[in-house]
Subunit: 478 residues, 4 copies
């Protein structure tokens, strides 16, 4: 009964605000908004506040507290959220808004990567992910889209971007999907969109040369954070940069006031990036055939270095352990799981990370992805992947509140954005999600979304993505 | 002195006709045109007529003869061609207007194949090739472009088309350039543009089923001639269709009043297509490691079946004989040359055929073409390839007049179009080329073009191609 | 009770004959042998004869009939076969005694192919297959082994051999398993062992040249029958030889008094080989995506051309129909099954054919066979494959007596060897199997073998194979 | 005249000693030998001594000096070397006695690797190379052959061996020539011959685990020195081991009293191995696209770390610079040359190193080596490669005496063997070469060999290799 009422109010509100008609897919509201009677989980780690109210104005949180304590400004638009839950806008510590790097996409949409990125940013937002951290992508299109979203011209999740993974080649390089049958001119041009002069040729350089290149790369000020490869990508057991070069990269990033991420996939590359001083360890739980050594784990926990962990469901892990071709693969899956348990048991700072993006409908028929076909609970599709992460965390016994923090506050903090986003606190950007059911009760409730609000505006999620390109008809994935 | 005068007249004429300004790249002239004082080589095989005149009106040849014999209609625009040579519009018995089937082109330009075809048809026309026979291409785009050219909406060489080579797969099939890394959905869709339900799956069928499929394929009436595979394309020593199936295809083509071409690459597949009754044998001079047997040669000559011969320069052949990896390849080159000499010696009906089209600038950097890199005088680039054919013919000792006929009358006759085109005779379409020097003196003069006239209209060759896509910046080729 | 007695008698007999000690793995018996009190199924199609006796002497059957009718010669060794069944020696119409053509085998055992062939011939014999028809193998080693077996020097199944499949390349050619990383010198040398100058280069030749080559190939008189390719092997939808060339091959074979087999995999290649006059059609039931046309089926039945049919169990067929990657593959499996039913319904002459041989223990770990890994009831392993064929036939509803004939008399007749082998009739070679249970009751009983007798000698099956090379430790297969 | 006399004396001597008849391919001489009237270049760097004498007894040098100063023991066999030159036995700092790791060799000769190694050791000795350092090979066969040579049972160059390059996989791994079409069982077995549990899986380990594995690997005491990978082999720009792991390896080697070699191919991996404390840097002159930085060069020179340098002739380098496919390859060749010049100019300790071994006759026809086909002065063939190195050194302007030291004393010193070999000094092993012409005059004279003496015995080089397997008929190479 209450729910029906609530929906009606929202519907009235939306009609008033022209939600449905809005070409920019959301409602601009100048008046303050108050979401009241909700249970508020503010993302600080504090207990949920029943019968709370959040007041939003000027794109920011103006007040949070018990309904009884907060006085609403005049002219406030009131949204009755009785029986509902308000949480901070969700985040993903590791997406690739342009992830579908199949040759046919990169060729067909060359010159239109902005559109693909917008589509992905809108899909994220539609599912309550108000902020994404793009950790590998084409710098210039991402910068353009970030600007258009921040200016309000285009609706979409807030984007923070790293551009290239320093030391790795572009999508058509041997580090990713080396193609056949394409001209070198094309291959080089597409790769350059990602590499931006900090690609694999850096591996030949001295640490001083690496430092200079990274310095130049960061000079433009376009990047929100820095990511580099400590391990190889396809040659995942190799070390990419010497300790000296790694330190040079980290120092250059820090000198620009940026957080620095390392990409590692072995115990030694993990250790090296920690010693180099990274702030976030991408997939710190992937260490090949050897689990994270106790000494390394201790440093991770003591220094509270953020672990972007690639959780998987037990069903997925079981499959990998039993079906993967070789003993080595099974061993790696086992170690991976072991690391996840160890990180949680030790109280490491964990971030939700999914490596996801939008995959087109044709992908499923691409033979290069055939080996992935029967793997259960495997997804790099935005929204799906994030929910699988939550399911996995729940299966791993993570506390519900920790799960929420891993998908919001911890990420903001790790990337140095906690002043602005990550919790529902006065003065911060008003990014929040209203859920119809308690997210601390079951991870599934994270997708029982009543409304998404970003920068204080209610997102017209029904209209997202505004233009469907890859996600169009029948979104699939490898 | 005379030449200078002639050029001046043409310039004046062109200005009057808005040649240079014409957006459709040619001049529409309603008044009769007379090209006078030229040496006329009418393409019938008759001796050149000095001081001749050709009168054009209504798109057709109204008169041909000695200046002294022909009386010009009133209001005739006169073009002084003193010292120049008038020949019929040239032809190519075997082009692929969309030949650059590299994955990146077929993906990037999907939906725009018409534009690529127009560009190629305009490049052909620019070089005096007023009619091309497209023997393998995407049917629907070709049909659309043919219609637009024939209606006068678009300028370009006159197109006759076969669509698919019956029995072969599309560009992304194992018969041509099987790609890697593309989705099956895409591969199937692109292949279908060519295959049109008469692709490689016909090899599984009975001859009656093949007959039915070909019948259906021809039912639409869109095709100008029929082509089928007697040999495989990549499996060039295999036989594609049984004799019964071959006969069924030929009969279906003939029943629709169409000429039928066979694609063969061995002595047996050549013999089978002859016995099936083909009208034109594509690259009849390619028979692998065995030369055309005397008995087969006799039938070819006796029945005057048209031989579309792939001549190459001696330099090219020498290279192949000495540089090709294996003894087999050298042997094939030797046999090829031997066939060419034998066909000429026996007086076979020879057609100029080049397998050419337009290759884009990036092609040269495509590793799949690396093995072709150093081969001299190798070209599938329109215009270049046709001149190389002429050079080769001259090197082979072909009579100059026979070379001209091979590039005009013989082709028209072989394809059943001699009523309308192929020679400069009264009543035929006014397709002709005015050359500055005697083509019977040296093959190079075929490219010393003063003017190209198609359907009685002077082509503004400077404006062709109107839009440059592949041929744009720096046309190259594999 | 009776069984125990019978075994005791045999044991006594064997001891007397030095079975177990025999280095040549069988017992030489000069005295006549009488197997009495058995049910005799003589392989002529007649009803089983209870309480029968078979008398063997001089390597041949001297008498067959009711115990009560036959008078035993003096000195006859008597074998009590009460409750047991005597059938003709079994056959396989299509084996490859050297089938494991993985690079590592052909390289490691180069110069020792004879040993591999002997091992396979002994494994066949051990399982009651007294005669095999090797339809593709290295001619010289096969000829040598045949000679050694026929001379009695080596024990093994009787071998009839074709050498190469005319028109196909050797094991390292693109028709079979083209290797990488091997020197061309090696590749050519190994291929030549199979090709013997009637390989794939014949496809370039005229039918007269093909005839001459085949003539020369047969001139040595070493071959027992002739096999040629009507379809390609990997390019299975292509036609290898023109009808004229096919007729030339058949005529040359027949001129030498040899039966001729065709290899076909499509409806048209099947039809062509029939029209060329083949005596046996290898895997006539494999016709790709189109079932055998009624007209073709009628000819097969009317002319009683032998169908070497590749039956599979229903479980296998079901798997293929549901698990094979593409629609085409499923369609082919369906057509295959449909053909098998049609051939049986029409009363075609069917031969048991298995394409089997001996695969080594390491094969299972060869990645090239990975796609075959999970296919049920798939076997090219000698003995296993033959039993699967029997199981399949029973599932298809074939009459028990017809199954026996398909594995004995029909094969002998098809290959023109019925005068000597194929049934238990007076004067024929004494090749027979004593079974402990009724083979007409269930196909499994074919492997409930009490004794195998070849050329009148009791085979010491426990000692076979005498030397284990591939079948050694843990015989596997792809 | 003198030369003729000398030859005659040797011939007499040899006859007396049964050189030609000796089945062990050399002459056992118990009496002291004196080589007199020779110019002696003792390999210490001292000026050549004219009219000198070397006295050998008990396998060691008993005296070296002017003829006039040395008193010969009684019963000394005298060899007149008037006009000839005596130098220390030559060395190669980097060979692979079993280098021809083509699949066909490793399969065919499995179980006979000892024979291949003996053949190579004999070929080296035949050409004056009395000592080789095998830096990557199958440990157990090498250990066996070393033992047989040292015991005198087999003649051959003195072998010092490292076994595997720690961190790299075996010949069939992705680090070398990953095969297709072979069973995994075989691949694993062959790889294990090289890897010996210190293969590529070490890359997953912590430095402590690496240390333990190396400790275990060295525990058997079979190895003469240690080699590990600082760079990858095919992934040559990657770093294999962290600095900590590299140090652990070096420490373990040193703890066993062994010299340690690093394999590096980039400026950073070179620096890392230097910092880890390696004694010899394999191909220190290969650093990809960046030349050795000045700071690194300074350390190399100051610490006198041995540079095993891969010199090439100018013709070779020119070809690489102009013909290699990409700009990167040309750049690498240029840098390589630049490094060689810099090392020489700076006075680095240079060792002759060739990466050579014996390649079989069929190799030249192996398609995997096709890209190498036209490269001039490219050789990994024993003897040829060593002479090319000398030619290259001469072209680079290296002083003749330094060239000799690079091929003798420097190598012995770098590997810690100078007490026993490397120079012609009293008490050392009597390994020496008698040349017909002055090696300091021209590098070609190193192959103008009159006699090779190892351990005081005259080698019967005409009989080497005793058994020809790979080098048999027409030795070629990739």
């Amino acid at each position: 009964m209450r729910e029906v009422a609530a929906r009606r109010v929202l519907a009235v509100f939306c009609l008033a605000m022209y939600c449905l008609a809005s070409p920019v897919a959301w409602a601009a509201v100048d008046a303050p908004i108050a979401i009241y009677n909700a249970t508020i989980i503010d993302g600080t780690g504090r207990q949920p506040l029943p019968n709370g109210v959040v007041v939003i104005s000027g794109g920011r949180v103006q007040a949070v507290g018990p309904v009884t304590d907060i006085k609403l400004p005049k002219g406030t638009v009131k949204i009755d959220a009785t029986g509902e839950y308000v949480i901070p806008g969700l985040m993903d510590a590791n997406v690739h808004l342009l992830i579908d790097i199949e040759a046919e996409n990169l060729i067909r949409y060359e010159g239109r990567y902005d559109d693909l990125i917008i589509e992905a940013a809108q899909l994220a937002l539609k599912h309550g992910v108000t902020t994404v951290f793009d950790t590998w992508g084409p710098r210039e299109p991402l910068v353009r889209v970030r600007k258009r979203i921040n200016s309000g011209e285009v609706v979409g999740a807030r984007i923070f971007l790293a551009g290239n993974i320093i030391g790795l080649g572009g999508p058509f390089s041997s580090d990713f999907l080396p193609p056949t049958g394409l001209s070198q001119v094309l291959v080089d041009r597409i790769n350059h969109e990602w590499e931006q002069d900090v690609g694999a040729d850096l591996l030949w350089k001295t640490s001083e040369e690496v430092r200079q290149r990274v310095h130049d790369y960061l000079a433009g000020g376009e990047l929100d954070f820095v990511k580099y490869a400590s391990s190889g990508h396809r040659n995942e057991q190799f070390i990419v940069f010497s300790p000296e070069a790694q330190r040079a990269i980290v120092e250059e990033g820090h000198a620009k006031g940026l957080r620095v991420l390392g990409h590692s996939t072995s115990v030694e590359s993990l250790r090296l990036e920690i010693e180099a001083g990274v702030d976030v360890m991408q997939h710190c739980d992937i260490t090949g055939t050897e689990p994270i050594p106790p000494a390394t784990l201790k440093v991770i926990v003591d220094r509270r270095i953020a672990c972007a962990a690639m959780f998987h469901t037990q069903k997925h892990v079981d499959w990998e352990m039993t079906h993967s071709g070789s003993g080595d693969s099974a061993r790696k899956s086992e170690v991976w799981r072991q690391n996840d348990r160890a990180l949680l048991a030790a109280g490491a700072v964990v971030l939700r990370t999914t490596d996801s993006g939008v995959w087109g409908a044709d992908t499923a028929s691409n033979p290069i992805f055939l080996p992935l076909k029967n793997i259960p609970d495997r997804s790099n599709q935005l929204a799906t992947a994030e929910q699988l992460w939550m399911q996995s965390a729940q299966e791993l016994g993570m506390a519900p509140m920790d799960m929420l923090l891993a998908a919001s506050r911890n990420i903001a903090a790790a990337y140095g954005k906690l002043d602005e986003i990550g919790t529902l606190e006065v003065g911060k950007r008003a990014d929040l999600v209203i859920l119809n059911a308690d997210p601390l009760g079951d991870y599934r409730h994270y997708q029982d979304i009543r409304a998404v609000i970003k920068d204080g505006r209610i997102v017209n999620t029904d209209h997202l993505p505004a233009t469907t390109i890859l996600s169009g008809t029948k979104p699939t994935e490898p």
